[in-house]
Amino acid sequence: MKYFEDVQVGDVFPVGGHTFTADEIKAFAGRFDPQTFHLDEAAAAQSHFGALCASGWHTAVIWMRLMVDRRRALAEAARARGEPVAAMGPALGFRDLKWLKPVYVGDTIDYQSEVIALRPSGSRPRTGLMSFVSTGVNQNGEPVISFVSTTLVERRPEQP
């Protein structure tokens, strides 16, 4: 990961894609969101969703997993080039999370994140705050999720 000073508003990070299977939709829902339209095909068919669909939280945490994988790959590549890797996180939270369309069995969601604001931390001189909007789009080009998160990013150490 780059230092806070190396990031620009407007930078876009491709995060990756994921295809949601019936088994993982049901497994996630059984643990965290056991509403019938996330657990059972027949019940989902009778619901306003019309078919089995993923918990919105499932759609969100898959973004997190893909983002961690991508940051790790970038960090390993930077270390291989002998470059420093800035510390990132923890995140402070998120806002304006919208579940725009259901994610149905077999849907492939492609995620990306775009930097929308950067500001120094008032309380931590070695970190900055980075805000970014993350979106997930299905195979038909329809947005299914969008949210704005803010996380801490290490600032470039001052040269002696």
């Binding site: 969101d33 509403q35 996180g89 923890p90 806002r95 919208k98």
Partner: protein
Amino acid sequence: MPKLHWEDFELGAVAIYGPRLVTREEIVAFAAEFDPQPMHLDEAAASATLLGGLGASGWHTCCLTMRMIADGFLLNSSSMGSPGIEEVRWLAPLRPGTRIRLRSTVLDVRASKSRPEMGLAKMNFEVLDDSDAIIMTLVTTFMLGRREAGP
């Protein structure tokens, strides 16, 4: 217990759900699957981060909150889902061994303008630790079926 409808959500009503023990094993298992950052996986690595020790993924706290909402009232309601989350703030780490409780407050109730069979309830949730400190806050709006359709 009769099923909850939109009419049962009263402005200002407060309720407490839980406690729910959060173990080290489930914190690490969630992180390994969905948020494999060292601060959620390994004590030694976590102590070197700004988290200052092993703590749950904030998304794990969200998912645990969802489960407590489901078991607390949503599964026994006319829920029609939620359009999203207004805001989540991760205020303090969720440490292994914490018994979390959830405090809910109804912030707003209003009828749907476009769908007479539906109403909306906006709620604030606070995740509390053993000493009542707030670990996380979450604001969301539920779409709920009405007992009697509006005009």
